[in-house]
């Protein structure tokens, strides 16, 4: 198959004016200063650590993109004596995915070996022209190098279970596991960021974006692959808002109870009239002619609260009296006159004693 790809390298030269910049490498053409579009779009992901080694795979309508940063060089230093690094970006058509995945597998298994090989393809520039990038690279050489990792493996599409996004700590073991996975399976077909292998990127930020398929980061605590997007079950949602649910249920219960009491009161209890307040002369309970049970209790209890021996306690007694009256009223309504006569006579006995 005729392999075609867009290749970009970001690197620097020795001179202070030959800073880090993206250069597109094309067949039989000088290097052109050009930043890949998909990398321009990455500027919004300022939480993504691109200073250390990063491996990123993105699928969009323009193809499949691989972005690798922080590849070390040998013997190339800037004017401050700092080692110069290479960043690599490759864009391929979706049908050339396997070549890209073979390169990714090699990077995950033996990064040092791959970066050393790339370093040999990207050599320091010897031109005195400071408008040049400060390094040289040839398109065909780089393409041949990329193809050298090709293993001609047959891959199958990941099944439903495998398609779930997962994250784990960036360890050698997990990088190897990811490389093995990529030898057997193709990438999921959805568009978006699919794979990230990074050092200091906060796992929480990955959650904010959909479609990540596999993520390895040094800041993840789980040594094993865990689901990146946990499934939201109904029980989970209920448990999450447990406090709120208890609060709402309590409020509803109180409301129902108060409404219920009100309805009962309206149906079965006629409130004592204000002018029935006793005078000090009324020391004897009035005769109960028509034995409406509640009326009897009301009349009786009022006689307690106007005890002439202790007039100061009137309010206190009134409170207790009304509360007990209310309770008895509830009881009497529920028993429908059955036991009320007994209760009244018992109270009357107590009064006489």
């Amino acid at each position: 198959m005729n392999y075609k790809a867009e290749i970009f390298i970001k690197s620097a030269g020795t001179h202070p004016v030959q800073g880090y910049q993206w250069w597109q490498i094309e067949a039989n053409k000088p290097l052109i200063a050009n930043e890949p579009d998909f990398i321009k779009e990455l500027s919004s992901l300022d939480w993504l650590d691109r200073e250390a080694f990063l491996l990123l795979i993105l699928r969009n309508d323009r193809g499949l993109h691989l972005y690798v940063t922080g590849l070390a060089t040998q013997g190339r230093e800037d004017f401050q004596g700092r080692k110069i690094r290479n960043d690599l970006a490759i864009t391929v058509n979706p049908d050339q995915e396997s070549v890209l995945l073979d390169l990714v597998g090699a990077l995950l298994k033996d990064k040092e070996h791959v970066e050393k090989q790339l370093d040999q393809k990207v050599r320091p520039g010897k031109s005195a022209d400071l408008t040049k990038p400060g390094f040289n690279a040839d398109y065909n050489t780089i393409i041949q190098w990329v193809k050298s990792f090709s293993k001609s493996l047959s891959r199958i599409a990941p099944d439903k279970e495998l398609e779930n996004g997962r994250i784990a700590k960036n360890s050698e073991e997990n990088r190897k596991a990811l490389a093995d996975l990529l030898e057997r399976y193709t990438l999921p077909q959805q568009t978006g960021y699919l794979i990230a292998v990074t050092r200091f990127s906060d796992p929480a930020y990955f959650l904010e974006m959909p479609h990540w398929w596999r993520v390895l980061t040094d800041l993840e605590t789980s040594p094993d692959w865990r689901l990146l997007y946990p499934k939201k079950s109904l029980i989970g949602l209920l448990a999450k808002n447990l406090g709120m649910h208890i609060g709402i249920m309590t409020a509803v219960a109180i409301l129902l109870a108060v409404t219920g009491l009100k309805i009962l009161e309206n149906n079965g209890y006629e409130a004592s009239e204000p002018n029935s307040s006793p005078s000090l002369a009324d020391t004897e309970p009035p005769p109960v002619e028509s034995p409406s049970p509640t009326k009897a209790i009301t009349t009786y209890s009022l006689s307690i609260c106007v005890n002439p021996d202790n007039p100061d306690s009137a309010f206190e007694w009134t409170t207790v009296n009304h509360f007990s009256k209310y309770l008895i009223r509830r009881t009497s309504l529920s028993s429908k006159n059955g036991k009320l006569g007994n209760q009244t006579s018992a109270a009357q006995k107590q009064e006489q004693n």
């Binding site: 401050q80 010897k126 005195a128």
Partner: protein, 388 residues
Amino acid sequence: MVKKLISIVLSLLAVIMTIFSLFAIVGSIVFIFADEKFIEAIIVAIISFALFFTAKSLHAVSVRTWKESRFIRKDSIKVTLMGGRGVGKTSLLTAMYEQFGKIPHLNLDFFADSSTSQILSNCLKELQSQIGKPETGTLAPTVEQRQYKFHVGPHGKRPIFDLVFRDFPGDFLEEKQINDKIHNVIDFIKDSDAIVIAVDMPALLEDDGRWRETINHCLLINNLFQHGLNDNLSNDNRKLVLLVPIKCEKYLQNGQHQHLLQSIKNEYAGLINHLGDAKEHITVAVVPIQTLGGVVFDSIQANQVGHGETTPRFLYKKSPAVQGYSPCDTDQPLRHILAFSISLLAKQIDLEPKKVSKAFREDQRTLYEGIKNKNGFEILQGQNLLKP
């Protein structure tokens, strides 16, 4: 305006609720003494208390909203680190990071987010190890724009604001890229509360200043500020601009404080004069720091690259006067930034509980009292924005 309207509406609601609450209390009393309906009285009393406390909360929110309507609430202070490629912006940030929590007598706590603390801890290790290999003057280059976040709040309490340091690659200022990136850089300047300009002193002073433009981009920075801060001069958009000479161990340890200060004033005269029109709301200060202490500039090695063009290589050596890793005055930029931040957020800090706002005021005093203003340090203007 919207906030003021909301505040008025909330205030009216609070008044209505208070009236209802009073009615409810009266109703409750009537139920007890006139109607003798105790259950109803209790329910109405509970409703009256609920109304009263809701009214009280609404009043508090209304007052807060009214106060907030007089300023724009800020959740973070943005600090941009500017400077050419390899001048030491990341070293400066790392040196400041080391000082977080080390400034004595502060009530404030600083929490770096997880990625910030990991990255800067690694940078600090790298910086400290440079004592053993002094030939390199700075940390690994910053290739991409990067953000570092710190949460600032009183001891044991929730953070009040974030301090966000934005480290952008010095390559952005290079001739080849500036046309593409100029809007990014100007936006950085406009959008920042504090701008820290790192200045490579050997590049500025050595070799008759041959490399000062190539490395420090003094003229370009002057121009960028004139574009970026033009609007700021006429309005009350307060900013802090720090000129921070780095790699100045050689000059400070030899007592050349005045020479260093004067060189900065000369090279950044355009910037200083431009900002001089806004003395009341832009603070400008020169704050030289020694990130390593035990390493000094040695020489510039010029390598021929053909056709008379040369590439410099800045070489460093161990200091004869100072042993080992001994950073000096690295707390100074941080003191300026924090004192300025508290001043900038004064109105919203005042809305915090009294204990918290008092702690911030005390800290501003502590920070201000520790700010140096002689021996190479100078607050050129806007001192009032640092004072408590």
